[in-house]
Structures are given as structure tokens and as C-alpha cells.
Amino acid sequence: MLDADFFRRWMAATAASVDREAERLTALDSPIGDADHGSNLQRGFTEVATTLEKEAPDTPGAVLTLAGRRLISTVGGASGPLYGTLLRRTGKALGDAGEVSAEQLAEALRAGVEAVMTLGGAAPGDKTMIDTLVPAVDALGTGFAAARTAAEQGALATTPLQARKGRASYLGERSIGHQDPGATSAALLIAALAEAAGE
């Protein structure tokens, strides 16, 4: 079973990983975006880590809901509302149980991903974070390590796609050949989940 401490470790691992990879995310965002994805997420997840440490919410749902709210209030851009909604909706779906199973997490995360798709209007294949999150959630039933692998493959698979959502879509065919920064940061989030699980 996964308790609040597990979810706080997940968020802390995400913050650390985004911090390490910020420059790479920003570099990926330069040719097809506006060169700020790394610094924006870094600001947001640093704030999430600080807030979680200070307020120490004691259920899995409360950890993710608070993390989502902080992202919405600090990140801006499209990634603030999108990542914020992902975590907030996942947290809400977990309810107020003190511990949840991996299956419950997978189900809640699916609700979170669906909320992101509704908000941003993206579908699989549009070259967005959805291309990472959908296969990751599908693989989560098999285990955390499988979800991480699926997420990493999903992010890599955005390279040949033409962007149909977000700022990269302005480039039309010129967006082809670049790995999507949002899909890449989503893979960091899933990898941090596996890390929190010790896999």
C-alpha cells in the first residue's frame, strides 16, 4: 500500500529530477517552443517541494491536490494549468484514504490524464505530454518500472510527430524531428514515481 509519505517522496523526486534536467528541457523547448519549459517547471516543483515539507498533508489525495494547486499558482504558461490539473484531479480521485493501492493510483492517474486531455484538448499523437502519460498509465498495471519504460518510449516517440497543439503547432511540418519538451518532462514525473517506489 502507498501512504502519504510515498506521495511526498514522489513529488520530492520529481522536483530533484526537474532541477537536474531543467537545462535539457529548456533546450528541447528552444527549437519548437519558447525556451522556458525547464525554468518554469523548476520554479513550480521547487515550490511544491517546499510547501509539502511545510504543510505535510497526511493523505495521498491531499499531497497531490496541494501539489497541483501550487503548480497552478506558480508555473504559468500552459504547463502550470496542465500539470496542476493532472495532480489535482489525480489527488481528488484518490479521495481521503490514508493509504491507496497501486491499482487505485493507476485508476486515479487515468482520471487525471483524462482531465488534462479535456482541458488542453490534446489527443494521443498530437506531440504533447499526453503521448507519454497515456502509455505510462496503461503500463502501470504491470508495475512502476514498466510505466517508466513506457513513458520514456512515449516521449522518444514524439520526435517524428508533427505538433498539433501548443506553441510547437505554429511550426507545422517544421516541428517534425524534435522531441517534445512536455512529453519529456512528463517522463520525468513517471520516472520519479518509479524511483519513489524503489524501482
Binding site: S73, G77, A78, R164, R167, L171
Partner: protein
């Protein structure tokens, strides 16, 4: 790249402190990133709020004041503001007559302003929204995020601002803002990429001797790259791109806008070419504005925006305005 900054993390806050010092007629909340005209809320007046990423100055903070915006919410550089800022701004400027959000059509801006509208409505504030999407360089289809909001933002903010200042209703001010956007089209070119403080190096590679056609205002590359062209050729290309998409029957307002690093000397020369093409195409010009208004940090280049105006819109354009970035008739 040398920049006149301290550290990238404080660029926006530093600029806001400087604005506060230069413009005592504005209330600048540096911590919460909201710029408000000092006499707000003005009794019975609809309030206009805009915002967006920083790096486009004087847009939007420089357009706060009588006859234009009631408040502006600057985000990080090229990053839309967060909902909390717009909610705070709405609470500060709403007189009870309602608030109009003027939103440039970028995924992030739309999402954050939508969330803010919901929150402000929860607090009993009446909110209307208008999207600005004037950039003809972007194919508007189901498969893109839609046309970008660029130079027309200035026309929307000025003309709707004048209508609000006259005491027109929220419904009316919103309709006017929408009409100005629908009547406007823009096209931009970049002669160099821009450098964000966070990245410290150019956002895209533009080899010497080439230019980027159809560029946006965030250092995002455009649709096509060509060998460097003359001012005359760029004016032909830009105005034709716009007129392929609109056929003005009425006179137009012309904005020849600098992207930040192109001198006024060049912009005025470019304007002469723009006016020549318009005359050739039989488009009557009502007013022209030349300068750096909707910029993209240190990008070199320019954009052209045309806005078709009837007598009423022209009257509102000519109405007095008193802001740091635009000021006449007062």
C-alpha cells in the same frame, strides 16, 4: 550575450520596481505582479484587464491608465501569468460594472485566464473574455493552437479602453473588442532571434544573411526562412500576406511595430514601404502608428498590423489616452 540585468530570476520583479518608481500614477504590486491604475475602481466603469508573458514591453503594463487598461498581469518572461494574478487584479478594479479579460490566443494564456474567470465569478465579479488572434502567418485549423495574438492587442486595448472610459456597458465593450479583433490582421518578420534571460542564448538559430517570415512574438520561429530581403520586399511580402486574408472596404489603422532591436530609423523607412504597398492596393489609411509596442525582447524585425475601422472605431481610437506607452489628447 550581455544583458543589463542582475540575475535572470529577478528580471520581472526588478522591472516592476522600476515601473513603480517611474509611474506614480500606477499602483504596482511587485510581489503579486499586478499593475493597476491608481484611481481604480472607477465608479460605474467597466474594467479592462490584460496580461501575458513579460518581454513584450510596453505591452501590457505600459498600457495601463485612463483610456486603456485598468490593470495588467505580467507573467515570467514569455510565460503567461497565473490565475491568482488576474483574480487579484479583478478584485482591485471591478466597480460592479464588470471586467473584460483581453487574452492573446496562446494555449497558456487561454488556460490561465479561463481558470481566473471561473475563480473571479465565484467571487461575484462579472467577467467577459475576448481572444486576440490576428496573426495570419499561422494556419488556423483544427490541427494548430489557432492564430496567435500579436499587434492587434494594442488596437483592442486602446479602442475597447476608450469605450469603457465613456461608460459603455460590459456587453458593448466586449462587442467592440471582438469587432476590433475581427477587423485586424498582422504579419511579422524576424531579422534575428531573441535571447531570454533564463536561457542566455538565442532561442533559435538564424544564420547571417537570412530572415524568418511569419515569426511570432515569443522568439518562436516562423513558417519560412529566406535569404535576406530589402525593406521594400519585406513590406510587399507582409502586406500581401495580410491582404490575402482581408479585403478592407473601410480605411485602416496601420501599426508598424518594432520587435525590440530594430531602430526607429529603419521602422520609419519600412513604414514608407508599407504605405506604398497599401496605396498600390487601393487601401485607404486612416491613422498610422510607428514604434516598439508589442516587442519580443531583443529580437530584430518588425510586424505590420492593419485594423479596418468605421467612424465609431476611429473616434474611439482618437479618444484621449494616458498610459506610459501610449499617450495623446490629454
Amino acid at each position: 550575450m550581455r544583458m543589463l540585468i542582475n540575475v535572470p530570476e529577478t528580471v520581472v520583479a526588478d522591472a516592476l520596481r522600476g515601473m513603480a518608481a517611474a509611474h506614480p500614477e500606477l499602483t504596482v504590486d511587485v510581489e503579486n505582479r499586478v499593475i493597476v491604475r491608481r484611481d481604480a475602481p472607477v465608479a460605474g466603469k467597466v474594467a479592462l484587464i490584460s496580461g501575458g508573458g513579460s518581454g513584450h514591453e510596453p505591452l501590457h503594463g505600459g498600457f495601463v491608465g485612463p483610456g486603456m487598461l485598468s490593470a495588467a498581469c505580467p507573467g515570467e518572461v514569455f510565460t503567461s501569468p497565473v490565475p491568482d494574478q488576474m483574480v487579484r487584479a479583478a478584485a482591485a478594479v471591478d466597480s460592479g460594472a464588470g471586467v473584460l479579460f483581453i487574452v492573446k490566443n496562446y494555449t497558456g494564456d487561454v488556460l490561465n485566464f479561463d481558470m481566473a474567470a471561473e475563480l473571479a465569478e465565484d467571487e461575484g465579479i462579472q467577467v467577459a473574455k475576448v481572444l486576440v488572434n490576428d496573426d495570419v502567418a499561422v494556419t488556423d485549423s483544427l490541427y494548430t493552437a489557432g492564430r496567435r495574438g500579436t499587434g492587434a492587442t494594442l488596437f483592442v486595448e486602446k479602442i475597447a479602453g476608450a469605450a469603457a472610459e465613456e461608460g459603455q456597458s460590459l456587453e458593448r465593450v466586449e462587442a467592440i473588442a471582438r469587432q476590433v479583433n475581427e477587423n485586424s490582421r498582422s504579419f511579422g518578420v524576424a531579422l534575428s532571434a531573441c535571447t531570454t534571460p533564463a536561457k542566455g542564448s538565442p532561442t533559435f538559430d538564424l544564420p547571417a544573411g537570412e530572415l524568418e517570415l511569419g515569426v511570432g512574438i515569443h522568439g518562436e520561429p516562423g513558417r519560412e526562412r529566406r535569404a535576406m530581403m530589402t525593406s521594400r520586399e519585406i513590406a510587399d511580402f507582409s502586406v500581401h500576406a495580410i491582404l490575402d486574408d482581408m479585403s478592407p472596404r473601410n480605411p485602416v489603422l496601420v501599426l508598424v511595430n518594432g520587435m525590440g532591436a530594430t531602430p526607429l530609423l529603419e521602422l520609419y523607412g519600412f513604414n514608407a514601404e508599407v504605405q506604398r504597398v497599401l496605396a498600390d492596393r487601393g487601401v485607404a489609411v486612416a491613422r498610422t502608428l510607428v514604434g516598439n509596442y508589442v516587442t519580443s525582447l531583443d529580437m530584430a524585425g518588425a510586424s505590420v498590423t492593419l485594423c479596418q475601422v468605421d467612424e465609431e472605431l476611429l473616434r474611439l481610437w482618437d479618444a484621449p489616452v494616458r498610459t506610459p506607452g501610449l499617450r495623446w489628447g490629454v
